[in-house]
Amino acid sequence: MKSRISTRFIVFVVAVMLLLSVFGCKMEPEDKVLQMSTTTSVNDSGLMAYLQPEFEKATGYTLEITSAGTGAAIEKGRMGDADMLLVHSKSAEEEFIAEGFNEERIPFMYNFFVIVGPPEDPAGVASAVTAAEAFQKIADTGSLFISRGDNSGTHNKENAIWASIEYDPTAQAWYESIGQGMGDTLTMANERQAYTLSDKATFLAHENDLAMHLEETDDMKNTYSMIIISKDRFADSNVAGAQAFVDWVQSDAAKTMIADYGKAAYGEALFFNMD
C-alpha cells in the first residue's frame, strides 16, 4: 500500500513537471521580447508608458523597460542586460560607442532643461538669456544650488554649463551634491528653497512651490538617443526587435504621438521630434 502511494506521488510530480514544461514552451519566444534600458527622466515623465502599447500593437513585440540613472542605464547595456538603450547624455553615449557596442547612436527627440528655484528668484535668474549667464548669477550671489551629483544626463549637462563659464562650484558652501534622482533633488530644492537644473517633464509632474525661471535656451537642449546593442558583443541581443522600435518611433504615427504628449495635462508639448 505504502509503495503504491509513493509511486502515485512520483507519477504526480512527473506530470506536474511535464505540464510546467509545456507552459514554458508556450511562452513568448525570446526574440519577441525587447529589453530596453532607459533613464528615470524618460520613464518618470510617463512617455514610455504612453508609447509602449502602441508600439506593441504595431509590431507584435513585448517591450520590457527598466529605468535607472543614465550611468546605471548604460551599464546595463554594457553587461548585456538590455537589447537597446534610450538615454540622454552625449558624452557617456559616445564613450559607450567607442567601446564597440555599436557604430552609431540614433538621436530622435529632444526637449529642454529648465532652471527652477525659489519663487522670489534671489539670484535674478529670470533676467538671464542663457543657462551659463544664469549659473553665473547663482554663483555671484552665492545662492543655494542642489546638484544631482549622480553622473546622470542632467548632472552631465549641469557640469557642461559650469564648464562653459569656467567655474568650479564643487568646493562652495552654497553648492550641495546629493547623488539622487530628479524627484528627490526637486524635493530637497523645495525644502531648502534652492535652485536646481531639472528636465521640464519631471519638474511639471513633481509637486513643489518652486518656480521655473529659465527655459528653452540653446545651452539647455536635451537630446535623447537610442543605441542598439550589437550582436558582436552579445550574441543574444534582440537586434531585430530593437531595430523595429527604432523604425517605429521615427514613423509618422509615433512622431505625432510624441509631439502631442503632455499637451492635455500641461498645455504644452514635453518632447520634440528631431527633423
Binding site: A72, D150, S177
Partner: protein, 228 residues
C-alpha cells in the same frame, strides 16, 4: 585583485571623502544607538520584569513597531521636520540630527523588545529573591541593569548593527548630501544607481570591515566587564 586595491585606496588613499563618510556613519550610528539604549533598556526592563494588566497590549504594540518599515519612519520624520511641517522652524531636515531621530524611532522598539524578552525569562524568580531581601518596586531596576549588563551589551551591538545598515530612512531625511549627510549605505545606493557596481561592492566590504572592527572592540570590553 582590483577590488582589494580599491578597498585599500578608500581607506588609506589620498581622497579624504571615504574617511569622512565613515566618520559621519559612525557619528550617526553611535548617537542613535546611545539614545535608543538609554530609552529602550530601562523601558524594556520595566516591561519584562513587571506584570501589569496592559502588558500583553504593550508587548504587542512594541512588536508591531518592530515591523515598522524604515521608509515609513523616514517619511514620518520627513513630514515632521519639513519646511511646512510642525518642526520646520528648527531647520533639522537634511542634517545628521534628523538621521539620528529617524534611527531612534526604528531602533528603540527593537531594544525594548530584546530587553523585555531577555529579562522576562527569569523575572519571576529574581523578583522573588529581591523581595526576600526587601527590595521591591522601582529599586529592582538597578539590580536588573547590573545583572544583565553583559547581554545588554549584545543588544546594544545588535542595535548598532541595525543603525549602521539602515538606508531607506536615512536617505529620506538625510538626503545623501556630499560632505554632510552621506553615509556608507546611501553612498552604496548612489554608486549602484550610477552603475558603478564594483565601487559599490568595495564600499560594502569597507562597511563590513568597520562593523567587524567595532564588534571586536566591544566584545573585548564585554569580556572585561564579565571578568569583574
Amino acid at each position: 585583485m582590483e577590488l582589494i586595491n580599491s578597498i585599500f585606496d578608500f581607506i588609506f588613499g589620498p581622497d579624504p571623502e571615504l574617511r569622512q563618510i565613515i566618520a559621519v556613519t559612525l557619528r550617526m550610528s553611535f548617537f542613535s544607538t546611545l539614545i535608543s539604549a538609554l530609552l529602550g533598556i530601562p523601558l524594556g526592563v520595566l516591561l519584562g520584569a513587571n506584570n501589569f494588566k496592559s502588558k500583553p497590549f504593550v508587548s504587542r504594540l512594541v512588536n508591531t513597531l518592530l515591523g515598522l518599515p524604515p521608509v515609513v519612519a523616514g517619511l514620518v520624520v520627513f513630514l515632521l521636520l519639513s519646511r511646512s511641517g510642525p518642526f520646520g522652524t528648527f531647520k533639522l531636515l537634511y542634517t545628521v540630527n534628523a538621521m539620528v531621530i529617524a534611527q531612534v524611532l526604528l531602533i528603540t522598539p527593537f531594544v525594548i523588545a530584546m530587553t523585555a524578552n531577555l529579562v522576562g525569562v527569569n523575572a519571576a524568580s529574581i523578583n522573588e529573591t529581591l523581595a526576600g531581601i526587601g527590595i521591591t518596586g522601582m529599586k529592582r531596576l538597578k539590580y536588573f541593569l547590573i545583572d544583565y549588563r553583559i547581554p545588554f551589551i549584545s543588544i546594544i551591538l545588535a542595535g548598532f548593527g541595525r543603525s549602521i545598515a539602515e538606508v531607506g530612512a536615512v536617505q529620506m531625511v538625510g538626503g545623501n548630501v556630499q560632505h554632510k549627510t552621506r553615509v556608507m549605505t546611501t553612498a552604496i545606493m548612489m554608486q549602484t544607481n550610477m552603475g558603478r557596481f564594483e565601487f559599490a561592492i568595495a564600499l560594502g566590504i569597507v562597511l563590513l570591515l568597520v562593523s567587524f572592527l567595532i564588534n571586536s572592540i566591544v566584545n573585548q570590553f564585554q569580556k572585561a566587564v564579565g571578568d569583574d
